[in-house]
Amino acid sequence: MWDETRRIFLESLWRMLHSMARQIPGVAAMLLFVAIAVGVAVALHGPLKRLCARLGLDRRLREWGIVPAGLEGRTAPSLLAARVLTWTVLAVLVLAILSSIDAGSVSVWAGRTLAFVPRLVAAAVIFVAGLAASRVVERSALIGAVNMGIHSARMLGLGGRWLVAILALAIALDQLGIGGPVVTVSLGILFGGIVLALALAVGLGAKDLVAHSLARHLRQTPHVLEDPQDDGGELHHL
């Protein structure tokens, strides 16, 4: 019986070792590919950082108020962008390698994920661009509202920011195929509500302000803050 057990054990061990030995070239090839992917990603990191510096990404983002001033060194936006791009390149290359080698279910999973990558990248770009645009919109709306003498200027700015951010999020989710028609319908209800609220606000309380604003843009009357009185002349700033 001992001999039989030993025979079965050795045969099993042999089969296992044989099976492992058959996998070794594949694993070695995969590790080699991953090493190449890491090399490509690391090689791209430097040029990406230089490209960001050349484009003046940090300065431009600060200038538009998208990131706060003082983010330097390891927290600089250009460094963050270079890191994200590097890791994205690395992840895509690894997925491409996994999907191309014969690794059974892993390859199938990697192939499916790889097919999803373009939509994921597009959604990420839309969302990030939307967040950046929302900051720009917030600042522009705030300054414009203050110059028009609107006391709830900050609220208007925040409202504009969140509208753009939500819109970007909805488009990104739609791009990813998450939520289906729920996102579109929710967004429609949200915007519809806002437009209705604005229409009511204009109709009930702010018609004079809107009239002044429209008139100013149509170059018919001076600004509300420097309106000439009945007994005086017009003020020309220059």
């Binding site: 003082g70 110059n147 803050l225 000439p228 700033h237």
Partner: protein
């Protein structure tokens, strides 16, 4: 002859060329004829040619007043007033240089309707006194044109060292020497967006060796367009001026103090109602800006200035005042922020509007009970503050990062 004037222009036999910018609406060719006859009487023996700026396909050209195309076209589409090689000034410089005109003048839209010898007064320093550039000065109410009073005049005076009371006047008279130099200027190719603007011309003259003077032309005839909103006027004027400060940075940093520019004519007395401004609205706008825009201003202004502004906002309307030195430093800080691109430029200039309104409120309150001479003395105080604080501008311009917001 005022001090600073030199020998008359050498191009004696040449004509005078005047470019008349059109205002929208039907064109009256008799205005050009009337101006020609007035100039003929004022400068006998020197033919005057009054041409009209015609904009076609986005490019301005000078055509005779009896050109049938002028009658057919509805009026300018706005391109004539724009800078660049296709603008009215470029057309005048090209035409004047080609014709070898002894003197040339650019006349703003609607100015041709006025009577009197204002065009002769504008051209006389070039034709008779040998100046290269004449800037107009109009008699305006002491409270009118506050942007010129509080920003444009003090800033350009401190920067370039010449006391031109209304630097961005619209009209101008030029000599052939200056026109030939300007026509060849590389800015027409390098910086077509701003070359040919009023501030560009003025900065070129002030930074160069040309002789510049100002001529009082009487009461201000009024703008050809409705009044601009404070924000638009500020952005337009300061955008141009800051751009020229950037272009001529090496020049203006070497200038210390200021000197009088030769003046022709006298201001005279002004009739009519002063412009009425609601000080309470201006103060409210300043306080609103101080409370809402302080985070944006913190990228531009140093903490001490922000603190001073907060204190100002807490003042009562009767005591509200922006100190002259503080105001000068604020304008300089915005110039540095524009140059260093600390905040997006349009947003930067727009965010300055509440500060300008605050300054305007303080100035109007302080000069409410003063006469013209008293107000002018107050303006002189502002200008001196700008000159005294110029070292601050130079230091910040050279090391914009030294103030870390």
């Amino acid at each position: 002859m005022p001090s600073g004037a030199t020998a008359p222009a050498t191009e004696m036999a040449a004509e005078i060329v005047v470019a008349l910018e059109r205002r929208p609406g039907p064109f009256d060719p008799t205005a050009a004829e009337r101006l020609e006859s007035e100039l003929g009487r004022r400068f006998p023996g020197r033919p005057a040619r009054v041409l009209v700026v015609r904009v076609q396909g986005g490019a301005a050209s000078l055509v005779p007043a009896d050109d049938p195309a002028l009658m057919a076209s509805p009026g300018p589409d706005g391109a004539a007033g724009l800078p660049g090689p296709e603008g009215a000034l470029a057309a005048l410089l090209r035409t004047g240089a080609e014709r070898g005109a002894a003197a040339m003048a650019l006349v703003a839209p609607g100015r041709d309707a006025g009577g009197g010898d204002w065009l002769g007064k504008l051209l006389a320093p070039v034709v008779e006194e040998g100046f290269d550039c004449v800037r107009p000065a109009y008699l305006r109410h002491r409270h009118d044109a506050p942007l010129n009073t509080g920003v444009v005049y003090p800033l350009l005076r401190a920067a370039f060292g010449k006391r031109l009371r209304q630097p961005l006047g619209g009209e101008t008279a030029l000599s052939l020497t200056l026109a030939r130099r300007l026509v060849m200027d590389p800015d027409w190719r390098r910086d077509a967006g701003s070359a040919g603007s009023d501030a560009w011309l003025l900065a070129k003259v002030l930074a160069g060796r040309e002789r510049v003077c100002q001529a009082w032309l009487g009461a201000w005839p009024g703008a050809s367009a409705p009044p601009e909103d404070a924000s638009d006027a500020l952005a337009r004027a300061l955008g141009q001026i800051f751009h020229e400060l950037e272009r001529h940075a090496t020049r203006w940093q070497r200038i210390d103090g200021s000197e009088d520019a030769p003046v022709f004519g006298t201001p005279g007395a002004l009739e009519g109602e002063p412009p009425r401004v609601d000080l309470a609205f201006l103060l409210d706008a300043f306080r609103l800006g101080q409370s809402e825009l302080a985070p944006i201003w913190s990228h531009v202004l140093p903490p001490a200035t922000l603190l001073a502004l907060r204190r100002c906002a807490a003042c009562s309307p009767e005591t509200f005042q922006l100190d002259d030195g503080l105001w000068a430093r604020i304008v300089y800080d915005f110039a540095v922020a524009w140059f260093a691109k600390l905040v997006e430029r349009r947003q930067l200039l727009a965010s300055m509007t509440p500060l300008y309104r605050g300054w305007m409120a303080g100035f109007l309150r302080a000069t409410r009970n003063l006469d013209d001479a008293g107000t002018e003395a107050r303006v002189e105080g502002i200008c001196r503050a700008f000159e005294q604080e110029k070292r601050y501008l130079i230091a910040r311009w050279r090391w914009p990062d030294s103030f870390n917001p």
